[in-house]
Structures are given as structure tokens and as C-alpha cells.
């Protein structure tokens, strides 16, 4: 019965709604990626402070269900000093050009083994870790 209801609801989702959620989720993921590595704004609360908003509002923006709007995306981009969305052309201009001029300076390979899995998120259980570098530093080749 429940699966029938679910199937029916799923059929009622229009392509536009599906695309809308997909894009919104992607934007939320990108913002979370940036927050994870940003030197100063590294949480939703810090982002809310930077924008003069309530944390609950930022949470709503990043939920994947809220229409964030280009204006708010731009505000986040300015606060974070990073682009959140790029068109194909912008992405190519930014990343393809540098990718042609790279010089490899190090290739490192490592092998390891985790003998016992951790029961995440409790971090309990025994772990025996072997961590062995197997090869290092091949320098000077171009890429």
C-alpha cells in the first residue's frame, strides 16, 4: 500500500520539479564543500553571520527544497570569495586552460590495510592499521 502511494507520488513529480531539486541539492553540496575547506567561514552559522542572516535561514537555503534565488547565491559567493555555480563556458575557461600547462613534480603511492572496520559514527571497535609507503617521488615529467 505504502509503495503504491510512493509510486503514485513519484509519477506526479514533473521533470521541472525533479530538475529543480537536483540543482538545489547540487548547490547545497557545493556550499558545504566550500565551508569544509574555507579558512574563516567554515560552518553554516559562520556563513549566516557573514550574511547577517539567521542560521535557520541558511539551513533552509541548503535543504535542497527552497528556491534560493540567484541573488542569494551571489551573496554567498561574495561572502565566501568563491563561485558556487559556473556555466560550462566559465568552468572551461577557468579549469581547462591551467590543466594544459601543468608540470608534474611528485607522484606518491601508498598501500595500507584497515584490519577491523569502525562502527561509524560511534568510532568504537578495534582498528589495526598498516600504513606503508611503497613508492615515492617521480619528478620532472610534464603532464
Amino acid at each position: 500500500m505504502a509503495s503504491e502511494i510512493f509510486e503514485r507520488l513519484l509519477k506526479e513529480v514533473t521533470p521541472e520539479e525533479s530538475q529543480f531539486v537536483e540543482k538545489n541539492v547540487a548547490i547545497g553540496r557545493q556550499v558545504r564543500h566550500i565551508l569544509a575547506v574555507h579558512p574563516t567561514i567554515n560552518s553554516q552559522k559562520a556563513l549566516a553571520d557573514a550574511l547577517g542572516k539567521e542560521p535557520s535561514e541558511i539551513s533552509k537555503w541548503l535543504s535542497g527544497l527552497h528556491n534560493i534565488g540567484l541573488e542569494n547565491i551571489t551573496k554567498m559567493e561574495v561572502a565566501l570569495g568563491r563561485d558556487i555555480i559556473l556555466t560550462d563556458e566559465q568552468a572551461r575557461e577557468r579549469y581547462e586552460k591551467p590543466a594544459t600547462g601543468y608540470q608534474v613534480f611528485q607522484v606518491s603511492r601508498y598501500k595500507g590495510k584497515v584490519d577491523s572496520q569502525v562502527n561509524y559514527p560511534g568510532w568504537s571497535g578495534k582498528r589495526n592499521i598498516t600504513y606503508t609507503p611503497i613508492d615515492e617521488k617521480t619528478s620532472g615529467s610534464s603532464h
Binding site: 568563491r82 608534474v104 611528485q106 572496520q117 609507503p133
Partner: protein, 145 residues
Amino acid sequence: MAKKKFDIGKLDYLNIRDIAFTYSMPDEPSLPEKEGNPTGYSMEIVKMFNMDQEIIRLVFTIQLETMLETAKEIKGVYTTEHLFQVKGLSEWVTKAEEKFVVDPDLNEMLTIQAYSTARGMIHQKFNGTWFSDFVLPVAKSGALD
């Protein structure tokens, strides 16, 4: 003369993105009890720079595989790209005997930042797979030189 120390303020984590992800598991594998299964991993970190753009690019690939004879065919490979902007990069790169050498302090910072980020990304990416419990170990200082 004292050695010049790299200032982390000159390092900017520009972008991270997925490059490739594959996961394979046979339709009817002979699976043992999951608890305590050993997982083997192989990692490769390729580091390169673009001097004109002052960008350092790390391509981080990890392959996971079960270490149980009965489940050897379960494998996963995940590659991520990490781009860093380094202000004044040329000051930190030297060339000796046709080989480029990046300042060890800077090199270690790049590796630690990419590795730490990749740990979380790997855990998230393999969620729902045989390797969903796998957590890449915390690297000891100097272990990734």
C-alpha cells in the same frame, strides 16, 4: 640564515571535484559476515603545478578492495581533484638536476589539506556500498612525504 617558512595565508583551496568513481560487486557474491572485514587500500597522489597561474593541482586516487578470499571481486576506485592557489609560487619551487622540488613545508600543507578533505569525501562516496564503514586512517605527520 634561517629557513623561510611558508605562510599558510598565501594558500587558497580553490576547488575540489570528483574526477571518477567506479564500484563493482558481482551479482551473487559469496559474502561473509561483514563485521571485522579487512579492507585494503592503495592510494596515489599526483602533484603538479602551473607556474603562470600559480596553481597546484593534486589528483588523489584511492582503490578499495576486500582482503577476504571469498569477496576479492568487490572493488571501488575514487579519484578527486584538488586545486590550490599559491601566491608567489615561484619562490617555493626550485629545479635541481632537471627535477622540480616544491618546498617541503608547502608540500606537506597541500598533502594534509587534500588528504583530510578526501577522507570525508571517500567515506561519503562509498556510503551504501560494501565499503560504507571504511574510514581512511588519520595520517601521521611525515607519513605522506
